[in-house]
């Protein structure tokens, strides 16, 4: 779109057929409905040169015309008047929905894809007003902007719009500052990556206890009203405030991800952690309340404790098994956190992160051959971006770090029923103040 609109070069965009609807919609929403687009079968990945030559010689699965005829037409066939005429449309919708019965409204919310397919609480004016009373912010104040993918346009939202979604999730008004803080990050919990990502939200500071969040036994499960509904609100507000999360259009996760039901929302167990809280590592005071968001949650590894003889090797194995494009955030039960100190002497989180960075290695040849590394890291390495450009110089058998040190994180959570722990492959995005939204 940039090459066509900004640089004035006639362009044809090639896509695989699974993306027919989404790419036409993206082009339209970017003001270019006439953008010439040609399709070949999915997938491209893993096909031989001969198989891909057959795609070139074959037909466009959408139009049923020869692919190369579509390409040539796309570059040479003049646009008709309808493709070049004025276009402006406004997708704004009314603040209130038409009054209806409870049953009909539940059906409307479900059919409009405004829910996570579970029953919601209808956002009546009274309920939304009660939610809004839990913040000093004005209802019409803009909280942020969000979009499901890099290619989509940003949508904007206000405090009131966030409140509507918080009500739908079943959240209580006292949770609202945390939900507003999540919304203020602009990080979507309904990302549209075909890799089926979910978000994770970790709450720190006094607000955890004020609203009854669970940092202990079952913290990452359905065992706290606050954890459950704050996380659900984060998902609902993401899908509704970013312009949707509709399969085939604004959601393309191939397998889907059940973490998305409540975005792995928990509190850090600061009281039982031997280290400083996560938000303090990111510039906040211990007395501040804050929420940290992570994106791209999909890969995990899991273990029990740290055995005396081979704990280093066991951790190395877990790190080696992670997706190299999804850096590790360790979720440690307090028992395991203390074991890391007992076994390795890591009296600070930073010392453990240093060790994890040095331990997570694999041969360069294997690293660069991962498809996700090829797609997302190799191009940056060849562009000269560090540290990948230096890694690219390594011989195939040389052991290189899998992750960047700054992408490795640690959260202490759990109730010490045993020393279980896991690694979540994900990307830390930012930490937002809850207090600013009270």
């Amino acid at each position: 779109m940039t090459v066509e609109a900004t640089y004035g070069v006639p362009t044809v965009a090639m896509h695989t057929d699974k993306f027919d609807t989404v790419v036409r919609q993206v082009a339209t929403h970017n003001g270019m409905p006439g953008l010439r687009q040609v399709f070949v079968p999915q997938p491209i990945m893993g096909k031989t040169a001969a198989q891909l030559r057959a795609y070139v010689d074959g037909v466009d699965p959408i139009t049923k015309r020869p692919v190369m005829q579509e390409v040539l037409d796309g570059l040479t066939r003049p646009f008709d008047a309808a493709e070049l005429g004025p276009l402006e449309f406004d997708r704004s919708t009314p603040r209130l929905l038409p009054a209806d019965t409870e049953d009909n409204l539940h059906r409307l919310f479900l059919d409009s894809e405004w829910t996570d397919r579970l029953p919601i609480v209808l956002p009546t004016e009274e309920r939304v007003a009660a939610m809004l009373a839990a913040t000093h912010r004005r209802p019409d104040e803009v909280v942020g902007r969000m979009r499901p993918t890099h290619f989509r346009e940003y949508w904007e939202y206000t405090v009131e719009k966030v409140a509507v979604n918080a009500v739908m999730a079943g959240a209580r008004p006292e949770y609202f500052p945390v939900i507003l803080a999540l919304a203020s990050t602009g990080v979507s919990a309904r990302g549209s990556s075909s890799s089926s990502v979910a978000a994770m939200a970790v709450v720190n500071g006094p607000v955890r206890q004020e609203i009854g969040m669970n940092a202990g036994t079952g913290a990452l499960g359905p065992y706290s009203h606050a954890n459950a509904t704050i996380g659900r609100a984060y998902g609902l507000l993401s899908q509704n405030l970013q312009g949707g999360s509709t399969v085939g259009q604004t959601y393309l996760g191939s397998m889907g991800n059940s973490y998305a039901y409540n975005s792995l929302t928990c509190a850090e167990n600061e009281e039982r952690s031997p280290w400083e809280p996560f938000h303090v590592q990111h510039g906040f005071r211990p007395t501040d309340s804050a929420v940290s968001v992570f994106s791209g949650c999909r890969s995990t590894a899991f273990s029990l404790g740290l055995r005396e003889t081979y704990w280093r090797e066991h951790v190395a194995n877990m790190l080696r098994g992670m997706d190299p494009h999804g850096p590790p955030t360790l979720l440690l039960d307090p028992i395991t956190a203390r074991q890391f100190i007992d076994r390795g002497g890591f009296s600070k989180k930073d010392a453990l992160i240093d060790w994890l960075y040095e331990t997570a290695r694999m041969p360069a040849g294997e690293y660069w051959d991962y498809q996700l590394v090829q797609n997302y890291i190799y191009p940056r390495a060849t562009f000269g971006e560090e540290p990948w450009a230096t890694k690219l110089k390594a011989k195939p058998e040389e052991m290189i770090p899998i992750f960047r040190r700054e992408d490795i994180h640690i959260v202490v959570v759990g109730g010490e029923t045993n020393g279980y722990w896991r690694i979540m492959g994900c990307n830390y995005q930012k930490t937002a103040s809850v207090d600013e939204w009270r």
């Binding site: 070069v9 491209i44 003049p78 005429g85 704004s92």
Partner: protein, 99 residues
Amino acid sequence: MTTNGKITTLNPVGFAPKVTRKPLAPRLDTLEGRTVYLVDCRFDDSDIFLKQMQAWFAERMPGVRTVFKPISSVYLNDDPATWNEIKARGHAAILGVGH
């Protein structure tokens, strides 16, 4: 508010930006004697696909000059250096492959 058993609710949807048309470049009258850039977005095996398309042009339309051009970095980043090169030296572009 409930009126005659009916409930009023608020709309949960955010505010969409207004859409306005962006210009499309005029099409070429012919590709013969022109330079077409085949721009590899460096995703999955797009490079292999575009090289097959380049071979097609060489066999079937030898009067078209093609340039295989990988983008400078990852597709998530804008790439003005490549776009300026195409504008300066090319007449058309085929970008792919979006999955």
